[in-house]
Point group: C2
Chain length 239, copies 2
């Protein structure tokens, strides 16, 4: 019997630590649970053709002339002049079917920008957790989960997603460092009730001030969509 090659898994808790991780030989899963990657998954699941992640506001607005729907947020709030904000419910509308979106957010699209040279980049959220895990099992690449965090700082919700994915892939990947087991321990503690576990998280509090409890509850639902967004030529599409 030939043994399969070892596939490594690691977790980067913040885009500000990405310089420590090789990405040229990896599939990178970018995660920004509240709410960028949850929106991206929702949009592609509901028939949006493609999403162009853009790091800067001006570049995003500029893509409107090119026929893009512009969407995004800064500090959790919709940007004036943009077509859509950062609530997953905005991405379920029938009229977005077949459209291209240009998307910029405080953390998620910045994180994507930092790993654009990785071997492969995909998008993770609780909404497509199982689809992502199933896809990664079929890949030969090593794996890095990149948490978008909050302006460079770690956050709880992205870490919990990383832990959930490490948990699902425990038989398929070998942890390289302490971060995967830290994330997994936290997820296993939070698992009985993710929503309660997160109630004191700083970004949940920040969003509560914006009265979007419904968004938060939705972003914590697991396996709503059997969709894996992948980055191809700088644009996210359904694989």
């Amino acid at each position: 019997m030939s043994s399969l090659p070892v596939k490594f898994i690691d977790v980067c808790f913040s885009p500000d630590l990405i310089h420590l991780y090789p990405t040229g030989d990896r599939t990178v899963v970018v995660v920004d649970i509240l709410r960028a990657t949850s929106c991206m998954v929702t949009a592609l699941a509901h028939g949006v053709t493609s999403i162009k992640p853009v790091a800067h506001l001006e570049e995003c607005l500029g893509l409107k002339a090119d026929g893009h729907i512009t969407s995004g947020e800064r500090n959790g709030e919709k940007v004036p002049g943009f077509d859509l904000g950062n609530s997953p419910f905005e991405y379920m509308h029938e009229e977005l079917r077949g459209k291209r979106i240009a998307f910029t957010t405080t953390n998620g699209t910045q994180a994507l920008d930092k790993v654009k040279d990785a071997r492969e980049v995909i998008i993770g959220s609780f909404l497509n957790l199982k689809a992502v895990a199933n896809y990664l099992r079929t890949r030969e690449n090593h794996l890095l989960i990149l948490c978008a965090g909050w302006k460079g700082k770690v956050n709880l919700e992205d870490t919990l997603f990383a832990g959930a994915l490490v948990h699902l892939l425990a038989d398929d990947f070998t942890a390289e460092c302490d971060a995967p087991s830290m994330a997994r321990h936290l997820f296993e503690q939070a698992r009985p009730d993710l929503h309660s576990f997160l109630k004191d998280a700083s970004h949940v509090k920040r969003l509560n001030r914006l009265h979007i409890e419904k968004d938060i509850a939705f972003c914590l639902e697991c396996d709503c969509y059997d969709v894996v967004p992948v980055l191809r030529d700088g644009v996210l599409v359904k694989r």
Copy 2:
């Protein structure tokens, strides 16, 4: 009744994230459980007069001419030509009493170097956990716990110490961000048996290859020493 001013607590999981944290108004607790800060606490508790943390090997060796005992490690191993390595048991000898030490390690002294401009810098380890907590309660400063990690990456043992300190100070400080609660959740999970919880930690495995299980067990003992090392003019002394 006048209310006391709020004191904030935060945890920086890696020296590579220190740029995100203000330190000018803070007491920073630097922690490198395996084994730099455990050694520093042990040395001062056993009568060493002062410890000069040095980031580079050559600078450390150069201080020998000035009457310093030279000590430290790279990648967990003693440096050739140095007087002492990085086992806490080396710092208990009677002949070190009254001596000055120059100390350099892979992570711990590098972390110290990054916060030398903080309002106050102290040294934490499980060995002096309660002493550190008691001291911090008396201070008016905000608090940052800086985990030395491993070459920029997060590690489990330093995070668990941070969690233990957050746990002890829960009534005295207010968390600013998610990192303190993440560390505290992990500590509360690990608390019944720190040693078992850490057995898969990457640095524990690394050290096991060096056959220093005894060091690890000692570094996880709580409250052996009622000592708080503080940085004064670039040198660690007992306060």
